[in-house]
């Protein structure tokens, strides 16, 4: 059985020999290099983009400016508010104002320096709360209060809930903008042949790219072909649509020559960010330790363009309540325009910010009330059969088990860790250790569709056509295991093809940890269909009706007789046999009340941390971390544990290190020296993970790509308070913040 086996990733050899064909490697005949010219001011009327000198520069083939775009030259996955390049106005530093295609990158860069721009500056606003003031500058006239999305949840009587509470807690938690920082930058290439467009993209949602490009250029979706090679990391930053409209528009002016644009690291920081968030939680508790009501107010800084935020702001609302039994909940989740780069999905999308808030507050409440934080959570955690704040009844939820598993794994550790290895000199008495934990609940995509096609060839190989993007998470390997299992063939006969929208069937997106679950279901359905076709074809050969036949071990079997799949094809003179499967859900919430069904299943994870705080410097070292997630059924244990591990390491970045710092809208740390991401030295000294399955291990497959990330920040903040008694409410938890809090506490 291929499911449940820790097989290596299918293309492991390519991965260790540097042979993976990432898009940055793409070379096409006559390919041009593209370079983007960007706005130097945060908010202005764009008076002039003068290209005459640049046009004459050596090697320049085409220049794209706003003048080349028609009145419809704007795009967006939900609100078409973003120009392919700016036309008459710029709204953030780094916004594209022109693009150049040239024979070489050097030539494009030299020509870029010759483009002259002239601006008439406008007042700018960078903070979401400031953008809500009545005198704040307006970014888009269609949204005069700068709010482009307001998602609402209305469940029960919140005022009555507060009235019956013994204590009411109100706390505000902040998260700064951060960068997804995949080591492979954003990259796209495009080529036109007449009215047909081919785009090579490092996008997580190829069919979304296709739709948006078809809308933009007013051509049929089928006239756009999107090919996605393996990604060098995505983490949500390559979700949705980013570079493709600009690269395609630039390629339209080259007389059919392809153009490739690879962003420099600094450009990444003005291309997409994690939403900065300000989250206020007001929570009522009875003295018996039960929760009575919660009021949630969230301001998401969406940046200058809505991008994916109109989809993410409502999801963030659902993800802000927490996995607790709360009879009355009122939530308001606002997406706000500011003059910063657009924000988008960031691994653990929106949950990273919201779990930081609600799991920090659970510890604040427990400490103030004198309760054990674990018991307090256990008392209030939702169980299967109970109703969530959206009104939906929960099935197959294991928050209690996840939290118990993480805490047990941490606390049952057999031995104390020795003093910190490289920094123990002179530390005696300075290092204070503490433990903390957190649990989270995250919805996946409510409305989406995945299709898969399986093709059995007469040589016995099976091609799996899928538009799921392989970005390191091992999705293609897991899907191949599911296909092998469902078809009852060995894993090695499976070849995964795609994504290529000309060859592979529809898929909504590779995000929200949905692929192994939802594309996996489509693959299973396709396998069922293919086996049925084989049985139908085998019937006359084995002289048995379909009810007497079964597909097993690559054969169609009857009582006492069997024929190999490949022989079934041969006997019918077929080169190949194909079948398609689909999985789709159409779930949604009422826009006024947030009531309905938000997700086909819930993401569930927990974490427990042991930290050491250096009381002289404020530095926090994560000694141990245990992560637990509910997987339903584990397809590949080793790769699944690697997802848990990766989530923890990734989550340590925004917890302890990462913040994009803006000064007047200008990123001041757009490089991996000043913006640090976790290295080996930042990883916990001991990291372990637990994967929980449904009883018997035959439950539905749940996504596991993000579940153990959102608990990281609050688990560590809770451990810090456990160690030294200070509470940090703003990420990242830098040594400076901890030291300042320690000094304030000491008076």
């Amino acid at each position: 059985m291929a499911i449940g086996e820790s097989v290596p990733m299918l293309d492991s050899v390519a991965r260790v020999t540097g042979a993976v064909e990432y898009l940055v490697n793409l070379r096409l005949p006559n390919m041009l290099a593209g370079k983007i010219v960007r706005s130097a001011v945060p908010h202005a009327q764009l008076l002039k983009v003068e290209v005459s000198r640049a046009e004459k520069a050596p090697g320049v083939v085409a220049i794209l400016t706003g003048a080349d775009l028609g009145p419809k030259g704007s795009y967006g996955v939900a609100i078409r508010d973003q120009g392919v390049v700016a036309r008459d106005r710029v709204r953030f530093i780094g916004e594209p104002v022109a693009a150049i295609a040239a024979e070489s990158l050097d030539a494009a860069e030299e020509a870029a320096a010759l483009i002259e721009t002239e601006y008439q500056e406008l007042p700018a606003v960078f903070d979401a709360l400031a953008a809500l003031q009545s005198d704040a500058p307006v970014l888009h006239e269609a949204f005069p209060n700068n709010i482009f999305k307001h998602a609402k949840l209305r469940h029960g009587d919140v005022e009555a809930g507060f009235a019956e509470a013994g204590e009411i807690f109100e706390d505000t938690f902040t998260s700064p903008p951060a960068q997804q920082a995949s080591l492979e930058p954003h990259v796209a290439a495009a080529q036109w042949e007449g009215d047909r467009l081919t785009v090579w993209s490092a996008a997580q949602a190829p069919f979304m790219v296709r739709r948006v490009l078809a809308e933009l250029f007013e051509i049929a979706p089928e006239a756009v072909r999107v090919i996605v090679p393996p990604l060098g990391g995505g983490y949500g930053g390559k979700g949705h649509v980013r570079l493709e409209p600009l690269v395609a528009a630039l390629a339209r002016q080259t007389g059919g020559r392809p153009v490739k644009v690879v962003l420099a690291r600094a450009e990444e920081f003005v291309t997409v960010t994690k939403h900065a968030a300000t989250i206020t939680l007001k929570t009522g508790v009875r003295r018996d330790g039960t929760l009575t009501a919660r009021q949630i107010t969230i301001y998401w800084n969406g940046g200058a363009y809505a991008d994916a935020s109109p989809l993410l702001v409502p999801a963030g609302m659902v993800r802000s309540v927490g996995p607790y039994r709360i009879p009355a909940v009122r939530a308001d989740s606002y997406g706000v325009y500011t003059n910063l780069p657009p924000a988008g999905a960031y691994r653990g999308a929106m949950s990273s910010q919201t779990t930081w808030a609600y799991e920090s507050q659970m510890d604040i409440i427990a400490r103030k009330m004198g309760w054990d934080p674990l018991e307090f959570r256990m008392r209030n955690l939702l169980r299967s059969g109970e109703t969530f704040a959206t009104g939906e009844v929960l099935h197959d939820v294991h928050f209690v088990e996840c939290l118990e598993a993480a805490v047990r794994d941490l606390t049952l550790h057999p031995r104390p860790l020795p003093p910190l290895p490289t920094e123990s000199v002179g530390r005696e008495g300075r290092g204070v250790r503490g433990r903390g934990f957190a649990v989270m609940m995250k919805s996946t995509t409510g409305t989406s569709k995945s299709q898969a096609r399986l093709k059995l060839s007469s040589d016995g190989t099976v091609s799996l056509f899928t538009s799921t993007v392989e970005m390191g998470q091992g999705a293609h390997t897991a899907l191949a295991q599911i296909a092998a299992d469902a078809l009852s063939v060995p894993l090695w006969v499976i070849r995964v093809v795609g994504p290529d929208t000309a060859l592979t069937p529809f898929d909504s997106t590779t995000s929200a940890s949905r692929s192994t679950s939802m594309m996996g279901s489509a693959v299973t359905a396709a396998a069922r269909e293919l086996k049925q076709k084989l049985i139908t074809l085998a019937g006359p050969i084995l002289e048995a009706g379909p009810e007497a036949l079964r597909a097993e071990s690559g054969q169609i079997r009857a009582a006492g007789e069997a024929i190999a799949y490949t022989d079934v094809l041969r006997r019918h003179n077929l080169d190949a046999l194909e079948a398609t499967g689909e999985y789709a859900t159409a779930l949604s919430l009422d826009p006024e009340t947030g009531q309905g069904i938000s997700t086909p299943h819930w993401h569930q994870g927990a974490g427990a941390a042991e930290v050491e705080v250096d009381t002289e410097t404020g530095k926090v070292t994560v000694l141990r971390y245990s992560a637990a997630s509910f997987a339903g059924r584990v397809v590949n244990p080793r790769l699944a544990r690697l997802q848990n591990d990766g989530n923890v390491i990734y989550g340590l970045g925004p917890t302890l290190l990462e913040e994009i710092i803006f000064d007047g809208g200008q990123v001041t740390n757009p490089n991996l020296s000043d913006y640090m991401i976790p290295s080996f030295r930042d990883a916990p000294l001991e990291l372990s993970s637990v994967l929980l399955e449904s009883e018997g291990g035959h439950g539905a497959i749940h996504g596991i790509g993000e579940m153990t990330l959102p608990p990281v920040a609050p688990a560590i903040a809770n451990a810090i308070e456990d160690a030294v008694g200070v509470r940090i409410k703003g990420l990242p938890i830098t040594a400076e913040k901890v030291l300042r809090a320690l000094r304030e506490k000491a008076g």
Partner: protein, 151 residues
Amino acid sequence: MTTLKVNGATYEVEAGVRTLLSVLRDELGLAGAKEGCGIGMCGACTVLVDGQAISSCLMLAAQASRREITTVEGLARDGNLHPAQQAFIQEAAFQCAYCTPGFVLSTVALLNENPSPSADEIRDYLAGNLCRCGSYQNILRAVSTLSRAAS
């Protein structure tokens, strides 16, 4: 012209002021080394020059002239993966693998210098290579299996 000795072969290239990384990728078609940050912070462009791990985005090709350059493409021998590559597969020490050639080459350099590194020495030596997918735990396992200290 600059003479580059890469993976045992000798090339004459018009390097100018280009980096070693640029010449390897764009002239010689050796695309295993990647640009991640462009400033020597991430290690995705790591190659070996005379056995030492260096950031090829910071070295001019001319500086590497006539020295022994090894890229990830040069590690396999007679169709067999290098033990470091095998260990990375064995321990699932990668996800997107954009950083993996750099990690593998840094591992080779580490073991050249110190055949028996402790876990702490491994963490220290490899701290200049970044893995955004967060595979450090499995990388530590993979390199540990190669350490003579393990056996």
